[in-house]
Symmetry: C2
Subunit: 98 residues, 2 copies
DNA sequence: TCGATAATTCGACAACTTTAGAATCATCGA
DNA sequence: TCGATGATTCTAAAGTTGTCGAATTATCGA
């Protein structure tokens, strides 16, 4: 699970900043933050203005940066904001989003 | 001078995150932070591992995001980190860099 | 097992980013 | 004014990103 393994801190920071450098992905962060860090995948995707393959791509980028985690819940999926990562790399950022 | 004028907060955040999503530009932020937010342009560029036109490009990106400002000092230039922007958009981030 | 629903992967393409060298512009000191 | 030094702009190539539709995979309930 540890994204940081085997890449430098700055490589990881670059990955995180790339993941946040897109309006759709910022919308994902904001939506999750407003929903206490957890949302059903389908509901989250519905709020985005893009095709489902695009949404899947965005979630993957964020997952690879360690910003969100996902887990299966029966036939659907749960997406969670990884607040620990935000607090470690961008302390206070989530509060500025509201 | 106000970068925020006429673009949404999220557009501005995207610009800032794009500006930070590059190892050379993170190096610029770190160097400036370690030098009390001010450095001579030429000295800063010497620390980067890239051609001078590339360095100029990177500085321009950061300037357009509002992360640094520059001013002429005779024949050379002074680059300053805009700590107010960091404190507003990414409070606490600079501390995590050290 | 089938069909329905949920989500990912693939292939393609346009748009954008990064990079460097060459040419240019700006400022200073002699 | 000239030459030197410092910094930017231009051009072009190479690489990366975001997007979509179609095909695929996964899971559930009947």
């Amino acid at each position: 699970m540890n994204i940081k393994q085997s890449i430098s801190n700055d490589e990881w920071r670059v990955k995180i900043f790339k993941a946040l450098a897109d309006e759709s992905r910022l919308a994902i962060v904001r939506a999750l933050h407003e929903h206490h860090n957890k949302m059903a995948y389908a509901i989250l995707v519905d709020q985005l203005n893009c095709g489902k393959s695009t949404a899947s791509y965005h979630l993957k980028i964020m997952q690879e940066a360690g910003l969100v985690t996902t887990s299966r819940q029966g036939q659907s999926k749960l997406v969670e904001l990884n607040q620990i990562v935000f607090d470690g790399v961008l302390p206070g950022f989530l509060k500025t989003l509201s």
